[in-house]
Symmetry: C2
Subunit: 287 residues, 2 copies
């Protein structure tokens, strides 16, 4: 297991962590000043400053990327599937322009939430089938662009509205069906917030292996959690066995960035540099 106490050379900041403090260029500047080597930006933050300006700011700051958030939302009415396809291709092209190592996929839940305007459905199995089809179609395009796709299983609390792939086992089953020969270009983004509770987590991390582990995200699970979306915790403030999970991820071969992604009204209310200092301190002490 890598030693993190002495520096923060594997730290990445998911820019949603600071989305209310600054625009993407401001976040990039702050990360560079804090000698944080990598970020993972969100599409809306890139769009707000312009793709070319965002790409130039990343390059000028000498930052690496640990991912690009996000493609997905594959479940939709049939007449909206072309919209979903085109939207995902644009996301993928942006990831290429930015130099991201992978496009993170939040796959979508039931179609009426995944692509609003779609007809209401309670058929989660049908949504899962659409997700599989959608990833399969995007994979061809992604391979042409040499941009890996990282399926992110989300916590089951988001099954209806955000992602109907809710366990690492399910995400890896999709990978195995869509890439049975492990040609590469398809894997998972593992976020401890979504998977820490899973009794199969250790076994599935080992099953994933280095070639499927494309990204690793950390934050913490607070008790009580006061809001389903925006009450994630800073590492160390909750109940997730962070060092245990990282040891398993690294034992499986992962040696990439550890990306801090915290959606939190509390942390969005703190000064940007204080959040970054806390991320660095916790990365060194508890991640």
């Amino acid at each position: 297991m890598r030693e993190f106490s002495g520096d923060h050379r594997f730290l990445s900041i998911n820019t949603a962590t600071l989305r209310k403090q600054a625009d993407l260029v401001g976040i990039i500047d702050a990360c560079a000043r804090a000698e944080i080597p990598a970020i993972s930006p969100w599409r809306d933050q890139v769009a707000a400053v312009g793709l070319d300006r965002a790409a130039r700011a990343v390059k000028d700051a000498g930052l690496a990327l640990s991912g690009y958030c996000r493609g997905g939302m594959f479940s939709a009415d049939p007449e909206r599937l072309a919209e979903a396809r085109d939207d995902n291709r644009r996301a993928l092209d942006e990831a290429v322009t930015l130099g991201a190592p992978c496009l993170v996929l939040v796959v979508g839940g039931l179609p009426q939430f995944s692509r609003p305007g779609s007809r209401p459905s309670r058929d989660i199995a049908a949504a899962r089938a659409m997700v599989e089809d959608g990833i399969g179609a995007l994979l061809d395009y992604a391979r042409g662009a040499q941009m890996p796709l990282a399926i992110e299983p989300l916590h089951p609390v988001y099954a209806a509205d955000r992602a109907c792939v809710n366990t690492l086992a399910h995400a890896l089953d999709l990978c195995d069906r869509l890439d049975p020969d492990r040609r590469g270009g398809l894997g998972i983004a593992l976020d401890v917030y979504h998977v820490w509770w899973d009794p199969e987590l250790s076994a599935q991390i080992a099953r994933a292996g280095a070639d499927r582990l494309l990204a690793y995200h950390v934050c913490d699970w607070l008790v009580p959690t006061r809001d389903l979306l925006n009450d994630r915790g800073m590492m160390g403030d909750g109940v997730i066995a962070l060092r245990q999970i990282r040891s398993e991820v690294e034992a499986a071969g992962y040696q990439g960035f550890v990306e801090v992604e915290i959606f939190s009204e509390d942390w969005w209310g703190q000064p940007m540099n204080q959040v970054l200092e806390t991320c660095i301190a916790r990365y060194r002490s508890v991640v």
Copy 2:
């Protein structure tokens, strides 16, 4: 699949659904007037009116029970395990006095939440081991009293603080390890709220079979869910494929009551008879 549209002879009301409108005796009276044949009471509601009075009220009203809520919270510091054991034996004795068909078990999460005062821990595997030991020990006592134990897997959102058994597969694994010869007396309580998202649900319901399916609870999952604890939906108001799941439960052999359990500030604010009328109408039309 049983036809529910013509009457409500398999309907049971979990009394937590009406906990803010009346005490247990008042709920029993209202259910009897609505010709609801069964209830499932909570320990605190029984204690508030007295065990003997509760048992007499149930009997005088001619009601059946579909369960008794609840035992569990097995995870604790070693010096608190005796407290947990004694507490669970009392719950079991109460279930016997009330004539319940099973004692529902909410198994507990991390020890500091399961039995407050226990030392903080992030070791969910250790909590799961304590839960298994605790159920095993209680099972001997329960068999002596001929009172079946029904393990209720809770939604993963409650893994830290309420129950670290979060999938039907995990609950059935516990049953198989603690009762390998299927002697009986150990099974599961299946609540759609907790398991609807699970891609393995259908397979695990079939695996459970009639002898492990001791209780079946319904409500609905609302989008958005505004509160993790008390924003459950009335059947039909959310996204759960209720008829699909009941068809699978019945195909596995379950023929018992369908118990409505809704924790909801919204429904707690409605008049009791209106809630019961709505439960009956939805039971007939969408369950």
